[in-house]
């Protein structure tokens, strides 16, 4: 890629090209939108776009927390199980204490488990993959211990009307996703915690030597990630009116796919919420578009796999051999 090296020289066209190379997810998103708009008359309608945003928002909220953790150089596999526990608590506790205290406790369960994950990673020095793989298995066990094998049902269905607030075609769930994404982008780019999260993810030894409290940032990021998973679980329970013990199974995988598709690196130190928004929207558009075209379920799974590998190859070809 010889032309990639002289992009730094700096004419406007070249800087635009350079931006596109680093943020190829938006090019890809535009392409998928163009293809599906051409292939299906139902795709580019206001209603459908509203649907895509709502459908994407659930994985999106998980992806925000995952982005924080990944930039920090770690990974969190337990988000799907945390989501299920929060949703079970938010519904199951309503009988005993009313709606909002139950929702609050659901949120707190997420925060507590995130704090536990983060503390275990920080104190033990274990790979977060191991700690949260344990969490994925064990927290799912907690969900089953709490709710048994049956889905919990809300006592009062007015609970399901809480997220039925729309701004034009945009649902409350989608608005929460975008608000959280913007907020955490601000955290990443404009707060000390954000800057030090990049520093730790980029080079943990150097960050430690520079006097950064590595452990504190890890604990904070894991807490953020699980709390957001709980937010996602509660929104899901509001949308469905039930809490299934198997809710959110393998969602951690979709979340990782969305974040990596966006361009955030697993190795840490690189990424942003903008990229994650791009990845989340691309994933949502692909899933929605393929369904509108009436493709069988297997096409979706295969396309996801292929796209993910393609994104990795693109990222390698465009960025690793060029600059950055």
């Amino acid at each position: 890629m010889s032309h990639a090296t002289d992009i730094r020289a700096g004419s406007p066209l070249q800087s635009v090209l350079g931006w596109l190379l680093r943020n190829h997810i938006w090019v890809f998103l535009a392409l998928t939108i163009i293809v599906f708009s051409w292939a299906s008359p139902y795709f580019l309608t206001v209603n459908n776009i509203g649907n895509i945003l709502t459908q994407g928002a659930f994985i999106g909220i998980l992806a925000i927390g995952m982005t924080m953790v990944m930039i920090n150089g770690e990974i969190d596999l337990s988000v799907g199980a945390v989501l299920a526990l929060a949703s079970a608590l938010a519904i199951g506790l309503q009988d005993h204490m009313g709606v909002w205290p139950a929702v609050f406790l659901g949120l707190m369960s997420g925060a507590a488990l995130g704090f536990l994950n983060g503390t275990l990673v920080a104190l033990s020095g274990m790979h977060s993959f191991i700690v949260t793989l344990g969490g994925l298995i064990g927290i799912r066990g907690l969900v089953f211990v709490y709710s048994g094998e049956n889905a919990l049902m809300v006592p009062d269905f007015s609970y399901t009307e809480i997220p039925e607030v729309y701004l034009g075609p945009i649902s409350l769930t989608a608005m929460i996703f975008f608000a959280l994404a913007l907020f955490f982008q601000w955290v990443l780019s404009s707060t000390r915690h954000g800057r030090e999260t990049y520093a730790v993810g980029d080079n943990i030894e150097a960050a430690h030597d520079a006097g950064i409290n590595v452990k504190r940032h890890k604990i904070i990021n894991f807490t953020i990630c699980s709390t957001l998973a709980a937010v996602c679980g509660i929104l899901l329970s509001m949308r469905l009116g039930t809490a299934e013990p198997n809710a959110g199974r393998i969602w951690e995988l979709w979340t990782i796919i969305a974040v990596v598709l966006g361009g955030t690196r697993l190795q840490g130190g690189f990424g942003s919420m903008w990229m994650t928004i791009g990845g989340v929207l691309t994933l949502a558009v692909l899933r929605n578009g393929l369904r509108l075209l009436n493709t069988p379920n297997y096409v979706e799974l295969m396309v996801m796999g292929a796209v993910l590998v393609l994104a990795l190859v693109l990222d390698k070809v465009l960025n690793h051999k060029g600059y950055t």
């Binding site: 920080a122 274990m126 993959f129 697993l266 297997y298 292929a306 590998v309």
Partner: protein, 317 residues
């Protein structure tokens, strides 16, 4: 004396805790340590165990293989379906070849293209699950003549009083162990996992080494699929879902490091058997099946922490 006990606890704390667990269960459930029950547990772990043998190679190079859950589903569907079409022998050959092919594909992407192993095999997890549905059309397949086929021997048969799947697992473990300890390939696997740069400078082609570990992983998953198909005499479209995590949990529990370079087949056999005995013991004690997940969580954290702490010389990082 205190020093010795301290060192003993640190080095073998987990094994001791496990023995205590075995004792507690045995006192409360008479059947637990009976030969029949022990063979049952071994029969249950033979499928995950077989897969874990191959995954140990991959993990020893510092890579991961998450695709094996979907691969197990795909290969089980293939072996059962082809059994009905082409007969047992061609079905087994095809299944093993398909396992090798998928392993080789993973190996090329990770070893030669140099993509991140976690993401590549995650992508394959999704892709292969799609392939399962494409192949089966969404319906479950069953072996048509389950009562008369000799194919049943791999999952249900006995030989010299031992279940055949257990024999396959143990023989596989011995072969894998010998390959890792006594062959050039085995030493290269440890070399690449221990320090990839150094291994390349010493003339090891890391790309080929990584490639072959994925081929091994694909092959052992193929053997596991033959056992699974033979045992169930059918295949649902989700039969292997989540196996990748159970297998990894077993490998990690044994003490093989995810960073690569440290671990062994012996440790994997121990780790995966421990998972089996914990699961079986808790069921015999009358706990609901999901309690084993909670215990697994605690055991993984404690086991890996103790292991790490012992190597580091202090508990906290």
């Amino acid at each position: 004396m205190g020093q010795t006990i301290n060192g003993l606890l640190r080095r073998h704390g987990l094994a001791l805790a496990f023995l205590v667990f075995l004792g507690v269960v045995a006192l409360n459930a008479d059947a637990f340590l009976s030969p029949g029950n022990i063979l049952d547990v071994l029969r249950q772990v033979s499928i995950t165990g077989m897969m874990a043998l191959g995954v140990t190679f991959v993990v020893l190079t510092g890579r991961l293989d998450l695709s094996i859950g979907s691969l197990l589903t795909l290969l089980t569907v293939i072996v059962v379906d082809q059994h009905n079409i082409a007969g047992p022998f061609p079905a087994i050959v095809m299944t093993l070849l398909a396992g090798l092919a998928v392993g080789a594909f993973n190996g090329v992407l990770v070893g030669f293209v140099g993509l991140n192993a976690l993401i590549v095999t995650l992508a394959m997890l999704s892709f292969l699950q799609g392939l399962v549905l494409l192949y089966s059309g969404g319906s479950n397949v069953n072996v048509a003549n389950a009562q008369e086929t000799w194919f049943a021997v791999f999952g249900r048969g006995d030989f010299l009083g031992l279940p055949v799947p257990v024999i396959l697992f143990l023989v596989g473990a011995v072969i894998a162990g010998v390959v890792l300890q006594f062959t050039t390939f085995g030493r290269r696997v440890y070399g690449v996992g221990g320090n990839e740069t150094a291994s390349v400078f010493s003339g090891i082609d890391a790309r080929w080494t990584v490639f072959w570990t994925y081929v091994v992983s694909g092959f052992t998953t193929g053997v596991a699929a033959v056992i699974m198909g033979s045992r169930v005499m059918g295949a649902q479209n989700t039969i292997g879902q989540g196996y990748e995590l159970t297998v990894l949990a077993g490998v990690i529990l044994g003490g093989t490091s995810l960073l690569g370079g440290s671990g062994s087949i012996w440790r994997t056999v121990i780790g995966i058997s421990m998972l089996g005995f914990i699961q079986n013991g808790l069921l015999l004690l009358g706990f609901p099946y999901y309690v084993q997940w909670l215990v697994t969580w605690a055991v993984i954290i404690i086991a890996v922490w103790i292991d790490l702490g012992a190597k580091r010389g202090r508990i906290f990082a």
